[in-house]
């Protein structure tokens, strides 16, 4: 692809603006858009009631599913990705939830809790929690999610197994962040895991 042309067209366009810049007819402009899209130099947004916007870049766009795509599919308030995350291979809600926990970012953690309403493979979630040694954290977050939002029910066998892994020493999920709510504190005390959510965070999620 001609880099000079891409550099010249870089940015956001509508069909009309593209027609004006390239001096093409509408049909040719649409063909050109399809060609750029095929080569991954163009991304489409909008459509429907909104005007269709085409973003053109001299760099090829990367496509794929990742943690942020899954979180934002279920989140109440979508998060801005801290980095681009692309997965090659099998990756589901369970993996995204665990990866979100490991990032230790408050907003990502909060929005990832909505995934708990879409978990199908509890066994996989348990295995991943075990692998990363975060079983009590998963248990505590699940209990918090149960009082804040709608979630699926965790199998009793998994819950019992998580309970057995409660630590002796208090774990902080996000350093220096503590709750100010009695109900959340009781969950924190039960699991010996410091939950970072305040009463306002709980209300925001509902």
């Amino acid at each position: 692809m001609n880099q000079y042309l891409l550099k010249k067209l870089e940015g956001k366009h509508t069909v009309n603006s593209l027609m004006a810049v390239t001096h093409l007819t509408k049909a040719s402009a649409l063909n050109f858009i399809a060609h750029l899209k095929k080569l991954r130099y163009l991304k489409t947004s909008g459509g429907g009631r909104q005007k269709r916007i085409y973003t053109i870049s001299p760099k090829q766009f990367t496509e794929g599913t990742g943690m942020f795509t899954i979180i934002n599919a279920y989140a109440k308030n979508p998060v801005v990705p801290a980095f681009q995350h692309i997965v090659h291979g099998n990756y589901g809600s369970e993996n995204a939830f665990i990866d979100a926990l490991l990032l230790k970012d408050f907003r990502i953690l909060q929005q990832s809790l909505y995934i708990l309403n879409h978990i199908k493979k509890w066994k996989l979630l348990h295995a991943l929690a075990k692998k990363h040694n975060i079983e009590p954290i998963v248990g505590a977050l699940y209990d918090f999610a149960r009082i804040a939002i709608k979630t699926r029910r965790m199998p009793d066998t998994m819950r019992n197994s998580l309970i057995k892994k409660r630590p002796k020493k208090r774990i902080e999920i996000i350093p220096a962040l503590r709750t100010n709510d009695k109900e959340i504190k009781s969950i924190s005390d039960y699991w010996n895991v410091e939950l970072p959510f305040s009463i306002n965070d709980k209300e925001d999620m509902q």
Binding site: Q3, K7, E10, R40, S57, P58, K59, Q60, F61, T62, G66, F83, Q84, H85, I86, V87, H88, G89, N90, Y91, N95
Partner: protein, 213 residues
């Protein structure tokens, strides 16, 4: 040459043969492909945080038929004597350059890791995590490896990128020079002087590099 699609297929295959989860950082032509700066590359440059991870990775690529090769003819003679030189593996015309913790004298700093812009997970029984370093770090690291096509790659990045922070590159060079890399500033200075003939670089950046500011 290896294309982006081939690289993904290859690394997906590598993830099948690794015996433990491995984390590595891409910074060469392969990182440029993740960005979309180029469509194909000859060498896959990655750096690992530990020797153990590199060994696991090497076992996997040897399983796929890669053989170790000499550095001579690829890197300049002085770099071949460095303590932290890469182990190189090849099969056909593609090549892996595998570093551990340091790229010659330059360390994989904490800020470089924090600046990583993308993470590609190749998931199988074990996971291969490839972090892609920022464009500024790629330019900086390419300026110290001094291979035949590195300057062309730097030029391609700068020409395609509308937002490029020379401050980050210079901060990193100064940090590396304070932490044992005696060549970081000199190599970067040489690259910037060559680039100055093609693109506009403000004098203040040279001043910062010379320690005038």
């Amino acid at each position: 040459m290896i294309s982006k699609e081939d690289q993904d297929t290859l690394l997906q295959l590598v993830s099948r043969y690794i015996k433990k989860d491995v984390v590595c950082y891409a910074f060469g032509g392969n990182a440029m492909m993740y960005y979309g700066y180029k469509n194909a590359t000859k060498d896959v440059d990655v750096i690992f945080e530990s020797e153990e991870e590199r060994t696991i990775f090497i076992d996997a690529i040897m399983h796929l038929g890669y053989k170790q090769m000499s550095m001579t003819g690829v890197y300049i003679e002085g770099l071949c004597k460095e303590k932290h030189k890469p182990l190189m593996f090849t099969r056909g015309d593609e090549r892996f350059d595998l570093f551990v913790s340091k790229i010659f004298q330059t360390q994989l700093s904490k800020t470089m890791k924090e600046r990583a812009v993308a993470r590609h997970d190749y998931v199988n029984a074990c996971t291969l995590l490839v972090y892609v370093l920022s464009k500024e770090d790629i330019v900086f690291l390419k300026s110290i490896t001094q291979r035949e096509k590195d300057f062309d790659d730097i030029r391609a990045i700068i020409e395609k990128e509308s937002h490029f922070s020379w401050d980050i590159v210079i901060d990193e060079a100064l940090f590396q020079s304070q932490h044992g890399d005696g060549w970081a500033i000199l190599d970067l200075k040489e690259t910037m002087n060559r680039l100055k003939k093609i693109i506009f670089i403000k004098k203040e950046y040279f001043d910062r590099l010379y320690g005038k500011k």
